[in-house]
């Protein structure tokens, strides 16, 4: 975990852990925000305090630092702003973005609770390794938002980076929560769309598949990591036994003893290997959660499409009612029609009034259909742009991840070759 040293040092130690996916090319593609400032989540700290119900709790806060980009010498970069935020505030920011930009594939947050852990990894949220990986994930999230063509220019996001106190109030003042509640309800409801855009249907299906396959991969990988750990660690027993055996031998003693040391080294090497692999797993996890964001956008499309279809349906039925009223024919079953049949016809004045009301409603209805149509088109257009952008980003990032996985495997093999060659030399001296 980076300590309180100067920014350059902590950036260097973080460079190793920086998500592979954020390459310079993304910055150049250029959001104006990233051109102006460097963003990082430099540290994590434990705090205790009283919560809303006045109970003592322990939580972690993360230090967000921003620096101006144009300062020439990196060593003396003054911090523009630095503020501490909790995970819950990141969540609030994300929810705000979700509601405000429904067409955007909003970058995901790192997982709330550790999942897909293999036995040595802690599932405890307070565990320093988990906190550290979360710090990296939060930084990644901010950089993703900052490099998004639309999200990066959001005022609330900017304030998140620059305002410590009062940011929460500002967000609530936007009133996004009201929209959030109703939209959330609508999204969770099951509804059938008659004519969804085929591309979105396919995207949703892809999102499902991606989520399923990455979950499977993460599970399998975690189990394999567990087993690999066992293989390496058992070799540590060779170290111990060789050492004990060397004590009773004369000529073989030295060779055995030094071979034993190499076996210990071999056993110890697995810790670093698996830690690196955990970063690969984190990269996969990001896209696991991205898959969910993608599906959310598709669901939102369905919602707007559904609302349009509802409006059209409503308009059509109103038009039909007008026709029936005007011509006196009843084509569709309606309660009014039944009751009028049972209890007698209406007076011509009543009919006139009804027609007038219908006309108004139809006018309003047509307006609404027009609006919703436009909304739908707008949504489809901007969502599809963002989906295309997301596809490109995903293809690039995951390919990089696979490459980094290969590099990790190569590094592991090289270590193995070295250790066993060393051991072989020692065995030869036995």
């Amino acid at each position: 975990m980076p300590t309180k040293n100067n920014f350059l040092d902590s950036r260097q130690t973080k460079e190793k852990r920086s998500p592979v996916s954020i390459t310079p090319s993304m910055v150049e593609k250029g959001t104006s925000l990233l051109k102006k400032m460097e963003i990082s989540v430099a540290e994590a700290e434990k705090r205790t305090g009283k919560n809303a119900v006045n109970m003592q709790e322990t939580y972690t806060v993360y230090l967000i630092e921003t620096r101006p980009v144009d300062a020439a010498s990196e060593g003396t970069n003054p911090v523009l702003d630095s503020l501490w935020k909790r995970y819950s505030e990141f969540e609030l920011l994300r929810n705000y973005l979700l509601v405000t930009y429904p067409f955007a594939v909003v970058p995901p947050l790192p997982e709330k609770r550790a999942e897909f852990v293999w036995h040595k990894l802690s599932a405890d949220n307070m565990d320093p390794d988990f906190v550290e990986r979360r710090r990296v994930g939060l930084e990644n999230f901010l950089l993703r938002v900052a490099s998004h063509p639309v999200l990066s220019s959001d005022k609330i996001f900017y304030l998140f980076l620059t305002e410590e106190n009062g940011w929460k109030e500002t967000v609530f003042e936007t009133g996004f929560q009201a929209k959030a509640d109703s939209r959330l309800k609508a999204l969770n409801a099951t509804f059938r769309v008659k004519n969804p855009d085929k591309r979105f249907a396919e995207m949703k299906h892809y999102g499902d598949e991606l989520q399923s396959v990455i979950s499977q991969l993460l599970r399998v990988r975690a189990r394999a990591a567990d087993r690999l750990y066992g293989v390496y660690k058992v070799h540590g027993n060779y170290g111990r036994v060789f050492s004990e055996w060397s004590a009773i031998e004369k000529e073989m003693g030295d060779g055995l003893q030094s071979a034993g040391h190499h076996m210990d080294a071999y056993a110890a090497s697995v810790d670093d290997i698996l830690e690196e692999e955990e970063h690969y797993a984190d990269q996969l996890k990001e896209y696991l959660f991205y898959a969910d964001a993608l599906r959310t956008v598709c669901r939102k499309h369905e919602l707007t499409q559904y609302e349009l279809e509802m409006a059209v349906q409503d308009l059509t039925s109103k038009k039909q009612q007008r026709e029936e009223l005007a011509t006196g024919t009843i084509r569709t079953f309606s309660l009014k029609g039944m009751t009028s049949k049972l209890f007698g016809q209406e007076t011509p004045e009543q009919r006139e009034a009804k027609l007038k009301m219908l006309e108004t409603q139809i006018e309003e209805g047509e307006e609404q259909v027009k609006e919703r149509n436009a909304e739908c088109d707008e949504f489809v257009k901007s969502a599809w742009v963002d989906i295309e952008r997301f596809k490109e980003q995903k293809d690039h990032d995951l390919r990089e991840s696979l490459i980094s996985y290969a590099i990790m495997q190569i590094s592991m093999c090289k270590k193995g070759i070295q250790v066993w060659n060393n051991a072989k030399e020692c065995f030869n001296k036995m």
Partner: protein
């Protein structure tokens, strides 16, 4: 090659780990004076070819010179192989025989090539005879009669192959031993037709005489040795410790194999998952399929690595676990010989009657003890050298195989990187510089 079900009715007549009857005590000093003259040559053809106990050695004095014999690989003049297991079905039992082929330039052999078939029982008999003749020499262990742990069927292919290799090593170790290899029983084992061997086996010391001596031996063992020389006590301490260490190594290695097998099981699911993923992708399909292929190839290498450990390192470690038991038995037998000598010394001091016979017996016992001690001392040095060579080469071999395993996996992943590089640079997407 296998046919039918099997019942292994082998009853060993020469089980090495029980207290060995010291019935040879009467026979060792059946000296033929002429034999003394032959001992000083490097050629270890000491057998006079006539009696079945010709593998009994000559006087203790001559033995000392004998054991300074240095082994020289270049002068290896006998080559033995064990292969070609076949099953035989008779009315009463089913058993396996192995082909034993010998190629030799030794003059005491009638011919230079021999081919016979032997079953496990025959190997047991041979070992028993060698140990009877040389109670304090260290014979390489035979594979166990049947596998105790695990539900291994006694006659499945893996078991037979493992046993065959161990029998091969056993005969080669006997052939490399300066004393054992010139044993008449060994020669007969390698050359006699089945019928001949059977009749030869029947000519052993009589059952009753063996019984009598067994009783004497048990008595001596119960009495225990009083004044064991320090060097043999040190030997015993070493053997105790060695036995523990080698058993630990055996267990550790078996545990490694288990863990690797479990790792392999999980790894086998990774490749197909990547392949499944590639089906949902367009741009990513190729690298994902590639990765799937790499993971599958690494799986194959891991599988082979596991097999290597099981086939090469574990059998050697296991044999040295059994060696440790052999050493313990050898030390016990030596102790018994000394205990017998001590008992006879005491008897001479206390009893009044039969003094002449008792003096005679005591002299024989003294000679036997001196002979046993010298034999053990020399063979101990030889054994330690052989052990060192065997274990060194087993571990070096294991290290080499591990290096090779990692090298192969390295190549797999490097080829993936290479494919991505040429692909990317071709598409102008990624700059690897």
């Amino acid at each position: 090659m296998m046919s039918g079900s099997v019942v292994d009715n082998t009853v060993s007549s020469g089980n090495s780990s029980a207290a060995i009857p010291t019935d040879i005590s009467g026979q060792i000093l059946d000296l033929d004076e002429d034999d003394d003259l032959e001992v000083f040559s490097k050629d270890t053809t000491l057998t006079d070819g006539s009696s079945f106990n010709a593998s009994m050695q000559t006087s203790p004095a001559s033995m000392i010179n004998q054991y300074k014999f240095e082994e020289d690989a270049d002068t290896k003049d006998i080559f033995v192989t064990v292969d070609n297991p076949e099953s035989h079905v008779t009315a009463i039992e089913t058993y396996i025989t192995y082909r034993v082929m010998t190629k030799t330039t030794r003059s005491e052999f009638d011919s230079s090539e021999f081919e016979v078939r032997r079953r496990y029982q025959d190997f047991l008999w041979l070992k028993g005879r060698l140990e009877e003749a040389h109670p304090t020499l260290i014979a390489h262990p035979l594979p166990e009669k049947f596998v105790v742990k695990g539900m291994v069927e006694r006659f499945n292919e893996d078991f037979i192959e493992t046993r065959r290799r161990a029998l091969h090593r056993f005969l080669n170790k006997i052939a490399e031993h300066p004393i054992f290899s010139s044993s008449e029983d060994f020669k007969i084992f390698l050359t006699a037709a089945s019928g001949e061997l059977t009749s030869h086996k029947k000519q052993g010391p009589g059952f009753l005489s063996r019984m009598g001596d067994t009783v004497k031996a048990v008595a001596a063992a119960v009495r225990g040795v009083r004044n064991r020389p320090q060097e043999f006590t040190e030997m015993q301490e070493y053997v105790e410790a060695f036995s523990q260490k080698i058993s630990s190594l055996d267990k550790v290695t078996q545990r490694i194999v288990r863990e690797q097998k479990e790792y392999l099981e999980e790894l086998k699911e990774c490749g197909p998952t990547y392949a499944l993923w590639s089906q949902s992708e367009e741009e990513l399909a190729e690298p994902l399929k590639n990765v799937a292929g790499c993971v599958d190839r690494c799986c194959k290498e891991t599988e082979e690595q596991v097999k290597n450990l099981s086939d090469h390192l574990i059998p050697v470690l296991h044999e040295y676990v059994l060696c440790a038991d052999t050493l313990k038995a050898v030390l016990r037998r030596r102790d018994n010989i000394q205990a017998d000598f001590e008992a006879k010394t005491e008897a001479l001091a206390t009893k009044k009657a039969d003094r002449d016979t008792m003096r005679n017996d005591l002299d024989k016992a003294e000679d036997r003890l001196e002979w046993a001690n010298n034999a053990l001392k020399s063979d101990w040095t030889r054994w330690q050298k052989v052990m060192r060579t065997d274990l060194r080469s087993a571990f070096v071999d294991t290290a080499e195989r591990n290096v090779s395993y990692y090298e192969k996996c390295l190549a797999v992943w490097e080829s993936f990187l290479h494919s991505q590089r040429t692909d990317a640079e071709g598409n102008g997407k990624v700059d690897f510089s």
